[in-house]
């Protein structure tokens, strides 16, 4: 690889921190209406955005696991979760029938051309971001069984 690439890379951590502003991206609801991440952040002081896809097994496991404890999370921290699907037209027709079998209480949004995924700088799903007052406070890639407890601890820290 070119040595300049390394030079650029090495200087990057100096310029960054995790409290970036949430990028303003237009998403769609399941019935086709548009909604922007800016509107979401204005409406909710504390929110979780979870990127998932119908073909991603760990994503569905994560959302299933969160769904079981979601009521408690909302009661304790007033957090709102948006599960943003990155399914494109290959698989997006499966979203509606699938989620109804799942008893998920949170809202599902569509990022059909991966605009939000790209703006978050994400390569793989699942990806979870915790946002407070429009600032990204925490980001995480991947899911392993039991990780939801760690995520909740982060939310508690951020909510304080």
């Amino acid at each position: 690889m070119n040595k300049y690439f390394y030079v650029i890379l090495l200087t990057i951590p100096l310029f960054t921190q995790s409290q970036n502003a949430l990028p303003d991206i237009t998403l769609k609801t399941l019935s086709g209406q548009t909604v922007t991440t800016k509107q979401m952040a204005e409406k909710h002081d504390l929110l979780i955005i979870s990127l998932w896809a119908t073909w991603c097994v760990p994503c569905k496991n994560e959302l299933d696991a969160i769904a079981e404890v979601y009521d408690d999370w909302v009661d304790d921290t007033n957090v709102t979760l948006y599960a943003v699907s990155i399914d494109d037209s290959r698989t997006s027709k499966r979203i509606k029938p699938m989620i109804n079998g799942k008893d998920w209480e949170f809202e599902i949004l569509l990022d059909e051309n991966s605009d939000l995924k790209r703006a978050f700088g994400v390569s793989t799903v699942p990806f979870t971001a915790v946002i407070k007052q429009g600032k990204i406070m925490y980001k995480h890639t991947g899911y392993t069984p039991g990780y939801e407890t760690e995520l909740y601890n982060q939310i508690l820290k951020i909510a304080d």
């Binding site: 690889m1 995790s18 970036n20 494109d88 027709k93 509606k96 978050f120 700088g121 039991g146």
Partner: protein
């Protein structure tokens, strides 16, 4: 270092120097407004005693992406993406990208509540992408970003119009063809107020491709259109638990260029052909139950910003594609379920055998059903049981060919065809998938999958030998969660068939020490003798591990890749078999 990159670095440097504020606060502002993401994929290909030596050049190859997005103010933002393919792109990816280090994309964006304007490289999709999709998928090695300008104007919540103009990315160059388009979306839900809990949305799109005809092959084509126009109309309607979507696309005349497999003799070079697409979905869902029916018919719908890229042999990774025409069949997670997978057949190919074989498109349907057996019921047990049944059927378009001049087919440049609108008789692929998800207790969950598949190999892989595959696949997997955040997953797979490479056995074991660190091993073994000797009695294994912290992930993997058709993310392409070590690193700050 390239010229373009130097210019960007100078600009950034200039910005820093000319800033009015003190260095420290400039630094702080930069920090909180900059999003950085980095992805690196490296493969080191080794010689394998089973396959023989690695015969391509460059055993060690890397691809690297560095993306920087900077928020300048409330309304302005900008960003760049640097890419490095050193010394070459990964095996089986496009050589268009072979550059050591280059500025790949850059943009400046202005956004208010009603206006979103982008100058530079941008991504875009109209409707489901049947008519236009400019996108990036690094795993597939594809980036079809447009370079030019895009404007999205939405004066009202219920109305949005997008207009765009650009040339498509072609490696680090731009396409010769120009793309221009407009898309309007109208939400009539509130305007009509027809019924409570109803939604009605309309969409209209136009996409034009302008490309001057260059006489590549000394063809004697009389009237080559420089502009190919596509129009799309869409309707989405939902009422309470019922929903339906409809889309129709019409594509204007274009010539067909040099896309013959396997021969080089070509047909129909004096003819032009139109394309069209119909897509319809209807579904019903309520708590615990969902069903959807989907129909799609594609005729001659492949569209590239340069005609020459329509040659499927030379462009297996679909670079410069203007629209998105994926296969609509279930996407599988398991290795053996990905051996015989449908690839969509949207294009027009005229193949020269004893008589012409005209592949004009596809027609098919799939049904998806989800059902949740309630907790406490006979099938539900203590935690409930989830059932998914998915069926699909795909056929090639039935057609009749003719030659108005009565010339023998094998030399005819006037060969033309007519398709039948609703004829499903030329079966290419069917599958039936049954998936049962069961939670046994707080710690143990299982998934059982049964798949029955029919695969017309002769047609789908242009073998012209009449070969077909009928196979059964069974998969059982279980995950056990221990008390300290560690977990183990076991997966066993079997594929049974008397066709092609015959039976396979496969399995995976995966262990997570905690939420950060995990290791896995998987293997697929083709244990019966067959004429597909390159697969017979070879362990296609992979062993690896991954470490994740926050949004940073490092994964290391060593294994053998089966040659043939490799399907990732719903797109299949031929790959050569290889063995090697893979390192993936991704991070976002």
């Amino acid at each position: 270092m390239t010229k373009r990159l130097s210019i960007i670095l100078l600009l950034v440097g200039g910005f820093l120097l000319h800033s009015q504020e003190t260095n420290e606060s400039v630094f702080k502002t930069l920090k909180s407004n900059l999003t950085v993401s980095f992805e690196s994929n490296s493969q080191w290909y080794v010689n394998d005693s089973k396959f023989g030596d690695f015969e391509e050049d460059e055993h060690l190859r890397t691809t690297n992406f560095l993306r920087l997005d900077y928020t300048i103010s409330d309304r302005f933002s900008t960003g760049i993406q640097l890419e490095s393919y050193a010394p070459k792109n990964l095996l089986n990816n496009s050589e268009l990208y072979d550059e050591d280090l280059e500025l790949a994309t850059y943009y400046l964006r202005y956004k208010t509540k009603s206006l979103d304007f982008t100058l530079g490289h941008y991504y875009a999709q109209f409707g489901s992408g049947l008519i236009l999709r400019a996108w990036e998928d690094r795993a597939l090695g594809i980036n079809t970003a447009l370079f030019g300008a895009k404007m999205v104007f939405s004066p009202h919540d219920a109305f949005r119009i997008t207009t765009l103009y650009g040339k498509q990315r072609k490696g680090f160059d731009l396409s010769e063809g120009e793309i221009f388009g407009a898309n309007a979306e109208l939400d009539l839900t509130n305007a009509l107020n027809i019924m409570r809990s109803s939604n009605l949305l309309l969409g209209l799109s136009y996409v034009g491709k302008k490309e001057d005809y260059r006489n590549l092959e000394n063809l004697s084509v009389d009237a080559v259109p420089n502009i190919v126009n596509s129009f799309s109309g869409r309707l989405n309607f939902s009422h309470s638990n019922f929903y339906t979507d409809f889309e129709y696309v019409a594509k204007s005349d274009d010539i067909r260029l040099n896309n013959i497999i396997p021969n080089t003799v070509s047909f129909s070079e004096n003819q032009t052909f139109e394309g069209n697409a119909v897509s319809w979905t209807a579904g019903y869902s309520q708590k615990g139950f969902g069903v959807s029916y989907n129909f799609r018919r594609l005729e001659n719908m492949r569209l590239f910003s340069e005609r020459a890229f329509g040659n499927a042999n030379n462009n297996p990774t679909n670079q410069l594609s203007v629209n998105y025409l994926p296969a609509l069949s279930k996407q599988h997670d398991y290795t053996l379920a990905n051996i015989y997978l449908y690839q969509s057949q949207p294009g027009l190919f005229i193949e020269n055998y004893e008589s012409p074989l005209i592949k004009a498109g596809e027609i098919g349907q799939f049904v998806d059903l989800f059902y949740n057996f309630k907790k406490g019921s006979f099938f539900g047990g203590k935690y409930g049981t989830k059932l998914n049944i998915n069926m699909s059927y795909w056929a090639s378009l039935a057609n009749n060919y003719s030659d108005p001049n009565g010339i023998p087919y094998f030399v005819s440049d006037d060969l033309t065809y007519e398709t039948e609108f609703l004829n499903f008789k030329n079966k290419l692929y069917t599958d039936l998938n049954v998936e049962i998800r069961k939670k046994w207790n707080r710690r143990l969950r299982s998934i059982f999958t049964f798949i029955n598949v029919f695969y017309n190999k002769s047609y789908l892989e242009s073998k012209a030998d009449g070969s077909k595959v009928r196979a059964w696949i069974g998969v059982a997997e279980s995950t056990y969660k221990f008390s300290k955040g560690n977990s183990v997953r076991l997966e066993l797979q079997h594929l049974s068939t008397n066709d092609d490479a015959r039976n396979w056995l496969g399995g995976t074991v995966e262990y997570f020490f905690n939420s950060k660190f995990g290791i896995y091993f998987n293997d697929s073994y083709n244990y019966e003798d067959s004429k597909i000797i390159q697969d017979t009695k070879i362990h296609f294994f992979n062993v690896g591990g991954s470490y994740t912290k926050g949004a940073t992930r490092l994964a290391l993997n060593y294994g053998r890749q089966r040659g043939g058709l490799l399907c990732v993310g719903g797109i299949c392409r031929p790959v050569s078999q290889n063995t090697g070590l893979t390192l993936n690193f991704t991070s976002t700050f």
